[in-house]
Symmetry: C2
Subunit: 430 residues, 2 copies
């Protein structure tokens, strides 16, 4: 690699502009650590005039990022637009084909097209780095690829979406509703102002789970969607009841090998309030790995925001400048195997079930009979009457049961006019 490295930054949103400033202010430090001089020679965004946190050099500005490839010679490109397809994919694809290293925090792109793009990078002998796509500032991908490289990993899980974690923490601490806390999160920039859906419905965390699985188990990125639920249906009431039970609700992403089949899921979990994971609050992310021979390893840090994301983007840059490993997923693409998906029906959990019912005789027995029919045994039952409205809340904690049983069991309650809404189900993390 030559000694002067030309860099392009495509996408100047929150992350891109912060990164650009870091690149400009940390040149000396980067030279000290790598022996290379970096030069930002091209930047691109939709609008040149938009007000940004740091000033941009208009002389190197391109409104069409694809023009960069014709007009200037670059060695490394940062893609920070963030689409799963479209211009994001086009820019990355073009760069790799032109033997330009690519660094991106784009989990949507990598979780969807990572296999194809990794192969492209390998064929062109350049790096495709995406440390920032999972868990922000936590260098979890590098840790799996390098720091724990020869461990046999059996499970990776954790809190992978800072927005959801913030909302759940804030609902608990301020006793406020989902809707109000979401507004607060948007105000503070923790949730997308326009469409926060991908954070809240579990999609964002699921994309990260997929990238983690591929690295931890040396497999192709899975296309299955075993089980994905977000936090949209969590009510303050659930958080308060959990609290009384010494539990706390967390949105967990889980990837696990079960009988050599891949089980990937994202869903809210009830965890012990005194557990480690129960105490990761606010916008923090945490990833827990179980591996042999290392045992359990935990990494925790800020999961989002321009600072932590830039930290990971720059670690990718240094890795490239130091001439480090080339394989995007640690091993050659053609050695990464497809893996069968574990049947979600066999997923086993204790459940928290909340029923809102009419307070009349026979309702409770309808529920318990139905549970018994599906061999779901009750561990604890709390009925709280709301006499004024002639309603009651019934919370049932069950013993462990199969996903299939709970699905079939609960389906009938859609039709029961004494059950006022479809029961809330939250799995209890063991």
């Amino acid at each position: 690699m030559k000694n002067i490295i030309n860099i392009a930054v495509v996408g100047l949103g929150q992350v891109g502009i912060f990164l650009l400033n870091e690149l400009n202010t940390k040149k000396k430090d980067i030279e000290l650590k790598t022996g290379k001089k970096i030069n930002v020679v091209a930047i691109s965004a939709r609008s040149i005039v938009k007000k940004r946190r740091f000033k941009v050099n208009k002389k190197i500005f391109y409104s069409n990022p694809l023009e960069i490839f014709n007009k200037t010679k670059i060695d490394i490109l940062f893609e920070a637009i963030g689409l799963s397809d479209g211009i994001s994919k086009k820019v990355v694809e073009t760069a790799l084909k032109k033997k330009i290293h690519v660094i991106t925090p784009n989990k949507a792109l990598i979780s969807k097209h990572g296999d194809y793009l990794a192969k492209l990078a390998e064929d062109n002998q350049v790096n495709l780095e995406f440390e920032a796509s999972v868990a922000g500032g936590i260098p979890i991908l590098r840790t799996i690829k390098e720091g724990l490289a020869t461990n046999k990993i059996s499970k990776v899980y954790g809190i992978l979406n800072g927005t959801s974690n913030y909302i759940l923490s804030e609902m608990e601490s301020s006793s406020d509703s989902f809707a109000n806390v979401l507004k607060k999160a948007q105000k503070f920039g923790y949730a997308e102002p326009g469409n926060p859906k991908l954070d809240l419905n579990g999609s964002d965390a699921f994309a990260k789970v997929r990238i983690l699985s591929a690295l931890a188990f040396n497999t192709k990125i899975s296309k299955h969607k075993c089980l994905m639920e977000g936090i949209e249906k969590i009510e303050l009431k659930d958080i308060e009841i959990a609290n009384q039970l010494n539990l706390r609700i967390k949105l967990l992403g889980i990837s696990e090998l079960i009988n050599n089949q891949l089980f990937e899921t994202v869903h809210p979990c009830l965890v012990n309030k005194n557990s480690y994971i129960g105490n990761v609050g606010g916008v923090m992310n945490a990833v827990i790995l179980e591996g042999k021979p290392v045992g359990e390893s935990i990494l925790q840090g800020e999961g989002a925001g321009p600072g932590p994301t830039s930290s990971s983007l720059l670690s990718d840059l240094l890795s490239i400048l130091r001439g480090n490993i080339k394989k995007p997923f640690g091993i050659p693409s053609n050695k990464r195997q497809s893996i069968k998906c574990y049947n979600v029906d066999n997923y086993v959990n204790s459940l928290y079930l909340r029923f809102e019912v009419k307070d009349k005789p026979g309702v409770l027995s309808t529920i318990t009979n139905r549970l018994a029919k599906y061999k779901i045994s009750v561990k604890r039952l709390i009925q709280t009457p709301d006499k004024k409205n002639k309603k009651a809340t019934i919370v049932i904690i069950t013993h462990k049961t199969y996903e299939l049983n709970s699905k079939n069991c609960l389906s009938i309650f859609k039709k029961d006019k004494n059950i006022l809404k479809y029961p809330t189900l939250i799995r209890i993390y063991n």
Copy 2:
């Protein structure tokens, strides 16, 4: 680098023998991840006949490790003897001079001779890797050098000695004395059977703090010893009183930049029972980094034992086989600066002071007057009489005070015959 790599393992204790087995059983995985075939061509230990966990190949056994260099051609050497000088240093030195990469978990060696050996490695253009020297299976050194490479780190601290952490946890959970729990730790292999002193007096953790400082702050390894205390003086009584105060005792290693001066210390701390660090129990290690722009990052994992140590040793091996970075401390040796040591007298903490006194009039006022004279103000005072023995225990929690004040203040109590033993001081971590 050629495709077949010859390896020597020197030292076949708990770590060395486990590593040897991993090298023999993970050849295929290593080839998949690096494209290199490894061959263990030489092993060395004092005794060829000693009973070991895994069988050794006697044909490649050397009782004198220095003979290896004359008899066979090796590319990478693992040093797992563990001395700070003597044969450990000699073997590593010789290997580096002969352009052989070296991997070692030896914190005593690196914290004492790391600067010299790093320079030697750089001059000979080979790697000197020592991930396993700090925090066992936690890839903390690689995380600082690579994953968080361009962050400005202001502080690194944590639980760095698994033996001490096990003893403190076990004293609390079993309400047993230091001496008894130490015996238990030795029985389970968590403490050295012969001489556990280096673990218990803080030396082991201090060596790790020094290595962390050098990496986090890009400085030479310091020679100062700002403040080092181990857990030897912690009594069950202190643990029980801490418990009542919702505190817990942890041995922390801390490295921090204060006004561009380096402050390194190891001492027992009282931490909140609900804090993250307060809940890292047993033989677990945890390292917390404060950096910009990444924010606070936490890494937790098993800190000792052959499994976690081998995990880190193999990550070093893969790094070398992949041709990754050469600088042992991340930047060239000649760019690493010496740094002034922060004056420990200015270290500020709230203190827990426990006095064992004769229960007679005037003793309490002697203590409080003395504290007042040194401007140490009392936040909380708990006096518990032991009427039968005409004694009393006085526990004082102070407001923040300078180390110098507390040192001068307490010195006089050596001579006071009403104070039955020199007061116990434990700093409260804010």
